[in-house]
Symmetry: C2
Subunit: 239 residues, 2 copies
DNA sequence: TGCGCTCTTGGACATTCGTTCAACAAGGCA
DNA sequence: TGCCTTGTTGAACGAATGTCCAAGAGCGCA
């Protein structure tokens, strides 16, 4: 299934198509100049939208420029090449996820349990829990092994996510270890963060591959159950 | 990063390159005819190999045929089109995973705990736990939303995997519920299978995105810890 | 008002893509 | 031995790809 060519440019979201062609002498501008930062943002948004709609096939200069309501040449004026645009889109996508989760946690009550619940609920709600959104992730992951750019962005942004999860677990009752069990507990925390992250990602994946199999609330419950089980075993080494 | 063109065809694994060009009148066959089933299998193997080496870019008729040591036209003689070849490769990949896991379980001791451990160990060992292998999965997942063929194969093969996990959990001590708690327990089993699958998939993903963060044994321990936590809560509804 | 910076256009380019097909030839069978 | 089935080749096709660049024009500034 290929992305449509969209001749004449539907120009979704562009001001271009708002009015009918001028009748009188009024010479309406044929395009609107924008500041580089704005245009770059629009191109990044168009890239993600194309990825949502057409998957990997949507990653073509012509599809993206049509989606942005812009000519083919413009992309290479704002980005040195396609790979840089894709990497920028990946960075944006990552940042928006992490910032959204951070905001959800910040809005919650100050108790660790409430913060965790807010985090999980946000993870399993729109806009994150959307089959289109996960499809976008998966396309990016598919590039990971063979694109240095994608690898770099991953390193840059993933650390924030891991830190968020890690801190949330550390704040849980029993999470602040005394000096004595400090070392064993830190091992636990490391593995716990890894496990929780994996559980969340895996549930994401499963839900999107087959949304009917369970409901978002059940995913939250599963994660909370996991954390609960962790706390019960607290102090003991995992292996 | 594009896949190389390989003019003259290195013909990896083909009998073609075994001997030097004939000097005397010996007219060595220019190619070897094979049964359709064999050739199809070779093309599927070449497809997966290309996916491992070059990611999504490896999915081109020319790259695959070069990898198989075969001409471009042959692929369309054995498969109606490229999508069917890719779907066949996905089916093969799925089947090999599931059958490998089933075999590992079958080889293990008959106790449920040993079977579970064998399953987990196999899940987090080569050839499954390989960054290349997961990269292949991720490319397939990236096609899922937009390819009916891939969706169909997914439905066909995923059920076996889920059943395997489900049965293993059901066999655990405490898994065989009495008639009284039957219904509540079945809810638990369903969610437990979902959760364990998600945990395994997520750990896969994490390990391959950053293999240094934890060791395969730790992944096994995390999964066993999860199952242990489940059994401790056995009988109670999860929410 | 008009100049000029630079954002924007869109045609042109060389490649690569998936698919087709006429011709070739391997190898079993009579 | 020679025929015949059919697996196999590789050139050719049109479509689509990413990039380039000369020309055009929006809009701030003098």
């Amino acid at each position: 299934m290929k992305a449509p060519r969209a001749r004449g440019s539907a120009a979704v979201g562009s001001a271009r198509a708002l009015a009918a062609p001028e009748s009188a002498a009024g010479t309406r501008p044929r395009f609107e100049r924008q500041l580089p930062a704005q245009r770059r943002a629009a191109l990044i948004a168009a890239t993600i939208e194309c990825l949502k709609r057409y998957g990997h096939d949507g990653l073509s200069i012509r599809t993206i420029s049509a989606q942005a309501g812009v000519s083919v040449g413009l992309i290479n004026h704002h980005f040195p090449n396609k790979d840089e645009l894709v990497a920028a889109a990946y960075r944006h996508f990552n940042r928006e996820l992490v910032e959204g989760l951070q905001a959800a946690v910040a809005r919650a009550d100050k108790t660790p349990a409430a913060r965790l619940r807010a985090f999980l609920t946000a993870s399993f709600s729109p806009p994150n829990l959307d089959a289109d959104v996960l499809a976008v992730w998966v396309v990016f992951w598919g590039m990971y092994r063979h694109s240095r750019l994608i690898q770099r962005v991953q390193r840059e942004t993933y650390a924030d996510y891991v830190r968020l999860v890690h801190n949330m677990l550390a704040d849980l009752p029993g999470g602040a270890a005394g000096t004595r069990a400090r070392r064993a507990r830190r091992l636990d925390l490391r593995l716990a963060a890894i496990g929780l992250t994996a559980l969340i990602d895996g549930l994401w994946l499963e839900w999107c591959l087959e949304p009917g199999r369970f409901r978002p609330r059940e995913a939250v419950a599963l994660c909370e159950g996991w954390v609960e089980g962790l706390r019960r075993r607290a102090g003991g080494a995992l292996e």
